[in-house]
Every structure is written in C-alpha cells, then in structure tokens.
C-alpha cells in the first residue's frame, strides 16, 4: 500500500520536477498563456476585418486579451524575466491590431513550448 502511494506521488510530482533539458512547469504555463492570448487577439482582429464580428465584440475581446497579457507580464516579471519582452510585444501588437506581428509572436512561443499539448 505504501509503495503504491509512493508511486502515485512520484507520478504526480513528475510534471513539476520536469526532465533534464525540459522546460519548467511555471514557464511553460506562462508561455502557453501568452501564446493563446496573442492567438485569440489575432483571430478576433482577422474576423473583424472580414466583417464577421461586431465592433463592440472585437473591442471588448481585445481589451480582455490585453488585460490577460498585462497580468501575465506582472507574473513573468518576477519569475521569468526572459519572457518580458515578448509579452510586451504581444500587448503592443494587440493594441495596434497587428495580425502579422501577433501571428509571429504566436509561432515564436509555440516553438518555445516544444511538443507539449499537441495530441495528434
């Protein structure tokens, strides 16, 4: 019974500990948060340009994405300062409705994420 509990504990702790050369959990969470906020903003701006969403919806969604990115910026400032510049770039690109820049940031962050979360 004790051995089983220990095994379960090890399995549950494994993601936090990470593997050699692997990205740590806190940083991975931050990268994913920034990536999805940037990708959402890009999608909203694209659909607004195509006339598929209302102006009010697009503006509010952009505000939400910026708010999320601002909160992530505070987070990375303390724990992962190497992500600070890309977070700021995502905030600026969202404000400027710059789809190209937002997509480039998304792809850059995806490359940093590596193979995680893609259940193909």
């Amino acid at each position: 019974m004790k051995r089983k509990s220990l095994l379960l504990l090890l399995v549950l702790c494994a993601p936090s500990a990470g593997h050699a050369g692997d990205i740590d959990s806190g940083k991975l969470t931050a990268i994913r948060g920034i990536r999805t906020a940037a990708a959402e903003a890009a999608l909203v701006v694209q659909l607004k340009q195509q006339g598929r969403v209302t102006d009010t919806y697009a503006e509010e969604m952009k505000d939400d994405a910026k708010e999320e990115l601002e909160s992530l910026r505070k987070q990375v400032q303390q724990k992962n300062p190497d992500l600070l510049s890309i977070t700021q770039a995502a905030i600026d690109a969202t404000g400027a409705s710059d789809i190209g820049r937002l997509r480039a940031i998304t792809n850059q962050l995806l490359a940093m994420e590596g193979p995680h979360g893609r259940a193909d």
Partner: protein, 412 residues
Amino acid sequence: MGGLIEITLGIMTAVGGFVDVSEMVFAAQAGSRFIFSLIWVFAIGTIAMGIFGEMSGRVAAITKQPVFNLMRQRLDLGPGIIALIGSVVTSLITCAAEIGGTATVLKYLTGWPYPLLAGLTTLALVLVIWALPFKWIERLFGLLGLLMLVFAVSTVKIHPDWGGVARGFIPQAPVTLPMKDLVTYGYFVVAIISAVLFPYETYFYSSGGVEEEWKPKDVTVNKLVATVGFGLGSLLAISILVNAAVLFRPVHVDPSVIGTSALQAAIPFGKTGLLLALLGMVFAFSGAAVETGLSSAYSLSQFLGWEWGRLKKPHEAPRFTIAWVATFALSLVIVLTGIQPLDLVEWAVVLSIVVLPATYLPLILIANDRKYMNQYVNGPISNTLGWVFYAMICVAAVAALPLYFVTQGGKL
C-alpha cells in the same frame, strides 16, 4: 396531446439548460488541446447524469422528498453537515461564476462596464425568481438557452472529421503524450465529469419534482426528460468541443476568455451566428445562476427542516427566501471583488467533485430501498450503472485536488 407537449417542453428545457459556463469552458479547452480524445468523458458523464437525474426525479415523485431531505435521513449529522457546507459553498461559487459569465457575455454585446452588468444581471435574476412560478422560471431559461443550438449547427457546417469524432466516443488515454500533458489530460477528465455532474443540478431537479408535485404517473416523463433531454444537451457540449478542435486548434487558440467560444458561430455564420451564440450563452449561464442560487437555498432549508419552495409565498417560507436572495447578493459581492469568472469556474468544478460522493450515496441507497420506493425501486441496470458511476465519482473526487494543483488548474 397535453402529455406529449409536456414531455417535449421538458426535453427542450433540459437541452437548453444543460450547458453552463463550466461545460462551455472545459469543452472548448478540451477540444483545442486534445482534439476529439475527451469526447468519451462527456458521453460517460452524461450517462451518469441521466442515471442519477432519473433516480432523483423518481425518488422525488415516489417519496415526495428531494435529495437533501434524504441526505439528512441517511447520513450521520457530521458527514451531513460537511455535505451541506460543501454543497452551499460550491453552489455559491458556481452561482458567482454564472453571474460573472453572464455579465462578461453581456459586455461583449453592449460594451457596458462589467460591474454594472453584473449588478443588473443579479437584480434581473432576483426579480424573475420572485415574479415567475417555478415551471416558467425553468422553461424561460431552458427554452431561450436553445439559441445555443447554433453551436451544433456550426459543427455540421464546418465538416469535421466525423470518423475522428466517432472514435472520440471510445474511452482512451493518449499514452504517447509527454507526462506533463498526460497529467493535464487526467485533470480534464476529472473536471469534465465534475462539470457534467454538478451537484446543484440534482438538488434543483429533485426539488423541482417536489415543487411541481410529481406523482408515480410522472416517472415515465421523468425518465424521458432525464435520458433524452440530458443526452441531447450533452451533444451540444460535444459540438462545442468538436468546433474548438476544428476551428481553434489550427490557429493555436486554447480559449482563455469566455467570449472566445462565440467565435465558433461567427466563423461559419458571421455576425448573425455571433449574436445567436452570445444570446444563447446569456440565457444558458443565467439559467444556471438561477438553478445554483435556488439550489443553495433548497439545500439549507431541506437540511435544517425550514419551510421551503417557490410555490410558497415569501412570507410563508421566509428563511428559504432570505437564503436564495442572500446567495445572489453574496455571489454579486464575489464577482465584484474582481475574481475572474474562469477562476471561479475552476474552483467550483474542483470543489463540486469533492462533494459529489456525499450527494449521490444517499440517493442510491434510497432508490434501492423498497421501504421507500415500493415497486419503483432501482432495476438491475439502473442499480449496477449507479454503483459503477458512483465508484467513478469517488475515484475522481480523490484525484481532483492533486491534479488541480499539479496542473495549475489545467494550464500546464
């Protein structure tokens, strides 16, 4: 004919009221992150919900007692009080999440400030509950929630890989994933089970049965509503998952705000689709807020032996009335603290699964007890499935908190 209309309305209400803010969030994130591989969890959760929902309705029709009365009779005082506190706290947090979700969607429609919309939403819900009879409260939100069907129509329009969707119904664990993602997958399994089986749904459904004075002759209608209605409602949640896999995953969006899901209707149908989706979300979330607000008051009143029921005038059941009004007031306070609705959803889902075993154990025991149920006691299929699903809920309850902390609420 009247019976047929009653059944149709009951089923439609169950469909429209099935998806709430937590199901919408987890379905969209599940599809975006794990494609179709979590569909089976919605399917199994829905069968469990159908079994327990039918059981609670049948028990209400035969014994004239809702779930929390039975809990008081079947559990010792200690476990009963723990279940009561857990249920009231989770209902409160869920109610706040639904009000926050409704206000957020209204913000996308109007552009008005979020705190103002949260206040107006709460006021409107309190007035609706105060003014309308129980059946019409249920139908108003359930039927208008059917606007959410635009998500199912979108699924047909975007032509997903139907073979892949069908394979998603087969229980599976994507063992090829890195360990971190496998654990996150485990968290999503637990969270979806919890979101589908939220305890407030059973409290509300069985209390509604008592309020509407169901009789043994209503057992068949109850069975149809619980199985067909919840089943079709679940297909709506699955369509949100499928849409997310097809529309969001290729552009690397794991929905992080509530409004993103509405894009599933905007992409194929433009502004009309967007507006239908947003309005459907408003009614679905606010309907869930009504259910959770009342559930909290039902649980408290039934456990403590107070007069309760929406059929009674407020002065005839004063403590019940104060309880549901206070639930809405406290929910609004929680929303106005600035906690994001998505964070509230995650807490509600994790706390709910911990409370679920205490909710369903007395229900199965009573539904199996001939002394209470006579010939309406559980049949062998219902009984076996009931215990199997109960075991599943217990395992999920044990795993919920460790998975939540390890995966940082599924964000890992």
